[in-house]
Symmetry: C2
Subunit: 647 residues, 2 copies
Amino acid sequence: MIDIHDETGAFVLKRPSKFFPRRSWVSWLIGRPLPTADAPHQTIGKAVGLAVFASDALSSTAYASQEILMVLAMAGSGAFGYAFPISIAIVILLTIVTISYQQTIHAYPGGGGAYIVARDNLGEFPAQTAGAALLTDYILTVAVSVSAGVAQIASAYPELMPYRVPIAVSMVLFIMVINMRGVRESGVAFAIPTYFFLLMMFFTVGSGMFRFFTGSLGSVANPPTLDVEQIAGAITPFLILHAFSSGTAALTGVEAISNGITAFKEPRSKNAAITLLWMSVILGTLFLGITFLAGQVHAIPSEAETVISQFSRTVLGGRSILYLATITATTIILIMAANTSFADFPRLSALLAIDGFLPRQLAYRGSRLVYSRGIFALALIASLLIVVFQASVTALIPLYAIGVFLSFTLSQAGMARRWRKIGKLEPGEEIHERGSLLRFERGWKSKMWINGFGAICTLIVMFVFIGTKFLEGGWIVIVLVPVLVFIFSAIHRHYLGVSNCLSLDNYGPPPRIERCRVILPISSVHRGSLAALRYARTLSDDITAVHVSLDPEESEKVRQRWEKWGEGIRLVILESPFRLLLEPLLAYIEEVESHNQPDEILTIVVPQFVPRQRWHNILHTQTAFLLRLALLFKPGVVITDVPYQVE
Amino acid sequence: MIDIHDETGAFVLKRPSKFFPRRSWVSWLIGRPLPTADAPHQTIGKAVGLAVFASDALSSTAYASQEILMVLAMAGSGAFGYAFPISIAIVILLTIVTISYQQTIHAYPGGGGAYIVARDNLGEFPAQTAGAALLTDYILTVAVSVSAGVAQIASAYPELMPYRVPIAVSMVLFIMVINMRGVRESGVAFAIPTYFFLLMMFFTVGSGMFRFFTGSLGSVANPPTLDVEQIAGAITPFLILHAFSSGTAALTGVEAISNGITAFKEPRSKNAAITLLWMSVILGTLFLGITFLAGQVHAIPSEAETVISQFSRTVLGGRSILYLATITATTIILIMAANTSFADFPRLSALLAIDGFLPRQLAYRGSRLVYSRGIFALALIASLLIVVFQASVTALIPLYAIGVFLSFTLSQAGMARRWRKIGKLEPGEEIHERGSLLRFERGWKSKMWINGFGAICTLIVMFVFIGTKFLEGGWIVIVLVPVLVFIFSAIHRHYLGVSNCLSLDNYGPPPRIERCRVILPISSVHRGSLAALRYARTLSDDITAVHVSLDPEESEKVRQRWEKWGEGIRLVILESPFRLLLEPLLAYIEEVESHNQPDEILTIVVPQFVPRQRWHNILHTQTAFLLRLALLFKPGVVITDVPYQVE
């Protein structure tokens, strides 16, 4: 596998094993490194794709109904009747978004997240905005889903309530490790529980419906107390819109599939589109069913026991084995929902990095062919959020979904614009624009209207969201997105600047280096400094040894020994009245360098002590190392380390 | 002041200001840097010397009596009558030690601490033992004195009891800063409170004596409860010896003056000896007075209220202003007692460092001409001890004083041996032995007996100490001292090895470097890599550019561009199937280096990106920097950084 393209053909590597990564605790944790050639095989089918990409959207049924009720509770429990109509409005919105995204998936088989669609059709600034919005929301998805999962556990086992934060953080770390291993394994690990969740959920909702129609559905026994301050009778339009905004959390994650099309098996677009359809149907059905039944059993929204827990123990007859199975399944799907973000956040970061909006390191794949730096960053930030918001879903929800609706809007506006451009083409005509292929398609007009309508709907929802959630924490996202866009631009400007500076266009090579001056700092005269001198002599005849004098007696000794061993090389002694070592040396180097001619270069030859054992370093003043650090980022001066070792 | 000894006389420095340290928050905290030339002026007179060096010994009167009572309390309060006879025994021991040290001070005007005396007269191993014992004890002095000081505060203001640890640590840091400023200022800062303490103490003891003789001395009102488990009637010899050991804490610090003779004004020895005499007389008087009066007023040893506090509020009539003045003075002297160690610990560390038993950095003086690294280390370790032992004097005392008596014994045994050697000389004869001058002296025999007797007494006390305190924590010191001696030896061996390896004795210069191979790692072809190539061409004609291929397309681009710009230099492309950058490069370098001839040297020329702003570094993979780190400590390979910067 190792192939060294040596033009002379002379070089044969003796120890190719060195090209392989060493085994370590990291490879024990995340699996042995995968060679780059393995990359294309890591794709998934529809069934696994549903598990990997849809768990976010599906799992939001576990808290969306509750968050609607939580808002309505402010007007007293009499307002709970509005929950079901609000849910129907949300499912209509879901339908619009799904149809809109179906078109995106077919138009962008290479992955058509909001960022790419906005970049290709709207320009750089909207694309950066979409990117910032999505990154923010992926992080929140992790924090919200994991917090909601832990809330399920705490509903079944209230004694775990005080440990919510550490449990949640451990779960984030667990998901991180799973994702570091790579997408196929995470797909397998996540498929079984996703289907277990769907089974339990449909069973519970089905049983509930059966008992509702047979009239045997009772009310929640021992419901938790309503812990929201009530303002009885204040059912205002604002309250209804507020509840609607909270409920739209159910829509988050719908865009995940369109971002991750490349992870699907061929035919990618078709597989992804079918998966999206399945997902939306399941999501809508469950969400409506749960909201309806939660109302019928008079579930009370509370942080002490989730609505799902109240509803299922009522339907399934107390704390039965079926109840525990439902809660377990819900918990697991929520924890795994975070996985959607772990698939998407690193992928989007890599896209942004390749386009030069984020540090380039995010575009490099780790030992398991996944963007491990992005995975790590997501886990870190989400854990911080969980700690700051104490793993409370109700505290996190006002920050959530603003970014999603912003990106929905930009994505669909971009698609609408794309159809308009396509409409201007002749039948059969193809053009390339900003790296994307535009080809005439029949029915572009209706497709444009669908996407345009979707964009307008989601834009309105976003404004409703901002209007109702601003003071509760929504402002954080409103501030954060522009800040991120600003950072993206700053990074982009830097990369552009660097690439211009390094460009070889119009590059007239500077004159050859004709003269080389060497400065050789020595602390004393010994074999090490003489080895450095020996090397310095190969560079130039213009060598100056420099000694910083802290102690006149010591300096005199250096001078005498240099006279004997210094091979006639000039020695400069710098006095340092304040016992500083580096500063006089740096001042001297700067001085000499300022006299440099254009065809002349200054080299500092530093004798570098190499101890036999690492711990020995603490027994030596690391002057050479500190000098290196001080000079490393100094332009115009070449630094050379000549090692001398002690055996 | 700046003087550059350039043999050609040609070089004149333009910006000598660079030789001066910059002003910073550090110089705000500890004062502006002092030039080396200021060093000799930093000496002190007898009165200030007493304040600087004697505060440790004097302040131990604040807790020594209490610790005797604390042990006796185990046999019930009936045993308290033994406290005074035990104190008399301790004062006799003090007299022996003082006489013994008087002789040392005169014999060693250059500073005659136990370490030097043992080194010059007994050899390396006893010297290292003395050094380890003393360093341990200096640290404990800080921890015990500061804890005892905080106990005084908590006696007067019991509401501060829960904050003892943070108060104690803050005090250690305060003393650290004072000492970083340098000895003269710390002398001035410490003289006034020391004399204030002596005034208050003599006044309180004097008043107590007056009231005792006039019969008006009562008992402590509301004494604290005895918090030791009592075993009534068990007044065993072991208990008496145990109480005696605890009381010998009063003797710690007596050796401080002999270590610090060089800090005194001339005539050093005489000044130091007189100061030692004053100190011992004051110490003995106060210690006896306090123990006697504490018994008369029936003070109860307790961690809730110190014996000093009980005794002085009884003598001075309740919580009067005089009582508060006494407690304040006691607190301050205790806090300052720690200062003795801050004067001595860094000085002894520097001595050990110069002799190659501790890292050499401890021998360098900081900006204020003090051994700031030693000061910092002492503050750090003492703070840790305070945290671990929760600022409890009774918990710390079993560790304390073992080291002192070990060093007393070694010091006096060394002196005895020295007199014996002197006795063997002819009158008027002088010999130099191990850096110390031996001259015949009359009366050497009686001097030998005095020191010998002192050594035997302190040796016995040390064994009593170990026997009675071993299980309570004394074992920690018994283990620590040999461990420290082992570390000293390991460091010493390392320095000896290095100096042998670097020695120019029998140095036959190796052959001149005749051939130079250059490896030039490049990530892509741009102005930066071409600048490095330009430099590499000045080194050798045998240059190989090396590119690690992560992506075949990218590598092909590099190859094509190199063909155009590479000036015909050979390019090797290393494939890296696991997307590793450094490992293949290092394997290649190792391979090439293994073919080196003795007169050949391998140089790695690394293009080093220099960004305009430091934060830009996070936007670049620091491959060059990581490569440097990997190669820096690799023998046989020279590394050269050629900077390229972006404007």
